[in-house]
Symmetry: C2
C-alpha cells in the first residue's frame, strides 16, 4: 500500500523538523539539514518564520567565526569561473567554503543566473563546499535579509569562508558590501567593459579589484585596465593610502593569480582586525540590519493595512487628478494607521 498512515498530511506535519532538529543538524554539519534550514528562513510562511527565529536565536552563539567576502562583477567578467577557482583554492587549504548570492533580478527573470549550480561543477562536488542560489523572493531588502540569515546559519555549520556574490543590480552591491568583511570587484580587461567598473559608487565599496581574464592575448589589456583603475581611484574617490583598494590581475580560467587575490583579501582583513575596525564594522552592520528589517516591515504594513487600503484608492485618485497635494494625501494615509500618537 502506498497510502500508509505516515504519509497522511497530518502525520507529515508531525515529521517536519523542529527548531531543535534543525539546530542539532546544523551543529553536526549535516549538509542536507543545512539546505532545509536555508529553505526555512527563505520561506514567507509565518509558521516557518517563527521556527526560523527560534533556530537563529539558538544558533547565534555559534556564528561570527567565518570570513565574509562579497564578490561583484559585471556579467561576462567570469564570476562563476573565478568563484570556482577561488573556492577550490580555499578548500585545498583545508577551509570549508559556502557560496551565497544576492540577485534581486532572479525572481523577475524567472531562472536565476546565479541559480545554476552546474556552472561550478568542480566546486559543488567538493564535500567542503556548499553553493546556494539567491533567494528569489520579493524586494532587494528582503533578498538581502534572507541571505544574511543564511550566512549566519552557514557560519553555525562551521563554514570558514562565506562568499556572497551579486550581479550588481540596483543597490545590491551596497547591500552585499554591508554584510561582508571585505568586498572584491571582478573586472574585465578592455575599454568598453572597463567602463562598466568605473562607477564611482562601486569604487568606494571595493577593497580589492581583480581584473580577470588576464591570459593569452588579453594579458596586456588587463595590465592596462589595472593601471587605469589605479588612476581612476586616485582621481575619483577620496580614499586614502591605507584604505585604498588593492588592484590585481588574474586569470580564473588559467588559475593564475587567484592566490594573490586571496592574500590581498586576507591582508585587508588582518589590518582591520588589528585596528579594531573589523569588529566595529560588523557591529554597525548588525545595527543597520536591525533597523532595515523594521523599516521593511513598516513599509509592508503600510501597504497592506486594511484601514489604509480602504482609503488608498480615493487618496491616489485625488493626488493623480491634482486636487490633493501629495503631502495632504500622505497625512490621510498615515492617520489611517491610527498609530499611538502621543508625543508625535
Amino acid at each position: 500500500m502506498t497510502d500508509r498512515p505516515t504519509a497522511k498530511p497530518q502525520a507529515r506535519a508531525r515529521n517536519r523538523p523542529t527548531a531543535d532538529d534543525y539546530f542539532q543538524g546544523i551543529r553536526d554539519r549535516n549538509l542536507s539539514m543545512l539546505a532545509r534550514a536555508f529553505t526555512l528562513v527563505e520561506s514567507s510562511s509565518p509558521r516557518h518564520q517563527k521556527v526560523a527565529e527560534e533556530l537563529l536565536t539558538r544558533l547565534m552563539p555559534l556564528t561570527g567565526n567565518a570570513l565574509r567576502i562579497g564578490i561583484t562583477g559585471a556579467p561576462g567578467a567570469g564570476k562563476s569561473t573565478f568563484i570556482e577557482a577561488f573556492g577550490l583554492l580555499l578548500v585545498r587549504q583545508g577551509k570549508r567554503v559556502a557560496v551565497l548570492a544576492v540577485d534581486p533580478s532572479s525572481g523577475v527573470s524567472g531562472g536565476s543566473i546565479l541559480g545554476d549550480k552546474t556552472r561550478m561543477t568542480n566546486l559543488s562536488s567538493e564535500k567542503d563546499a556548499f553553493i546556494r542560489p539567491s533567494p528569489s523572493a520579493g524586494t532587494l531588502g528582503g533578498v538581502a535579509h534572507k541571505t544574511r540569515e543564511c550566512m549566519l546559519i552557514a557560519e553555525a555549520a562551521g563554514f570558514d569562508v562565506i562568499l556572497i556574490e551579486t550581479v550588481g543590480v540596483g543597490q545590491s552591491e551596497t547591500m552585499v558590501a554591508d554584510m561582508t568583511d571585505c568586498f572584491l570587484g571582478l573586472m574585465l580587461p578592455g575599454a568598453g567593459d572597463e567602463l562598466q567598473g568605473i562607477k564611482r559608487g562601486l569604487l568606494e565599496l571595493v577593497d580589492v579589484i581583480a581584473v580577470n581574464k588576464a591570459d593569452g592575448k588579453n594579458k596586456d589589456a588587463a595590465e592596462l585596465a589595472a593601471r587605469q583603475y589605479h588612476n581612476a581611484l586616485d582621481s575619483i574617490t577620496g580614499r586614502h593610502f591605507d584604505d585604498a583598494p588593492a588592484i590585481l590581475t588574474c586569470s580564473a580560467r588559467e588559475n593564475l593569480g587567484i592566490d594573490k587575490v586571496w592574500k590581498a583579501i586576507e591582508k585587508r582583513c588582518r589590518l582591520r582586525k588589528d585596528s579594531g575596525d573589523f569588529q566595529r564594522r560588523r557591529q554597525q552592520q548588525n545595527l543597520r540590519w536591525l533597523w532595515s528589517i523594521v523599516e521593511d516591515q513598516l513599509r509592508h504594513v503600510m501597504h497592506t493595512h486594511p484601514a489604509v487600503q480602504a482609503i488608498c484608492n480615493d487618496v491616489e485618485t485625488n493626488v493623480l487628478d491634482g486636487s490633493m497635494p501629495p503631502a495632504a494625501g500622505a497625512r490621510r494615509l498615515f492617520s489611517a494607521l491610527n498609530l499611538d500618537s502621543r508625543n508625535l
Copy 2:
C-alpha cells in the same frame, strides 16, 4: 518709541500671513510673497506645515503648467555658468524661469555650494527669474520633498520653466529625475573628468547630455568626450533609439550651443507629450511622491516613538553582543509600535 504695540510678539503673530494672504500673493506673482511661501513650506514647525498644506491645496489647480527640467553635473562642470546662460536664453524668449536646488550636502557642509545667488548675478537680477538655494534641512528625502512643494508654488506663481539642479550626491540625481520632465547631464571634456559621467546609473537617467566648456583649446576634447559618451551609451545602457539621450557640446562661458541644448530638451518633451508619456510620467511621479512621504513619516515615527525608545537600547545591545538575531530584535521594536495588527 521703538516698542510700539504693533511690534509686540502677539501683534506680530496676528500680522503673519494667512494661507489666504500667501495664496493671493502667489497668484498675483508677488516675488517677496513667493520667497516667504518657500520659507513656509521648508519650515518644520507643525503650525507652518498646517498653513503650508492649506496653501498647497488651494494652489493645486494653478500648478502643472511649467516645464520641469533637472540639471546635474560634477563639481567643476560649470553648472552655475551654464544655468545662468540657459536661464537668460529662456528669459529673453519671454519665459519666466525659477531655479531650485536639491543638495543634500548643503546642511552638512554649512554653507550650501548652491546657496550663493551671487554666482548667478546676471540671471538673479532679471525680474523674470527667481533663484532659490536648496533647503538644508534633514534627509535627502526631506530635501527633495520640500523642493517639490517649492516647484508647485513656483508653477502657481506663473513660472514657465523650473530648473532643478543637483550636485549628484548619493541618490539625489534619481530624486531630481523623478520630479522633472527632462533631465540634463552637464559633463566636462577630458579623460579624468569624463570618467565621472560614466556612471551607468546616471546614463540611465539623463535625456540630454551636454559636454560643457567646448571652447578654445578644449573644443576638440569636448567633441571627443561627446563621441565617447555616445559609445558608452551604446555599450552600457540598454536604451533604444527613441529613448536614447541627445548628446551635444556647448560653452556656457562663450554662450555657444546653449540654444541647441534647449531645443534638444524641447524636442524630448514634445515627443513625450505626443505619446502621452509626459502626463503618465508626472502621474507616476506623484504617486511615488505620495508614498515616499508616508514612508518618511513612518521611519520618523519609528525612531521617535516613546514605546520604541523605551526598549531600543536593550534591543540594540542584545543585537550587538550577538545574543539576539536582528530579525528577533526588529520584531520586538515593531511590536512596541502597537499597530492595529488584525490582518497583519
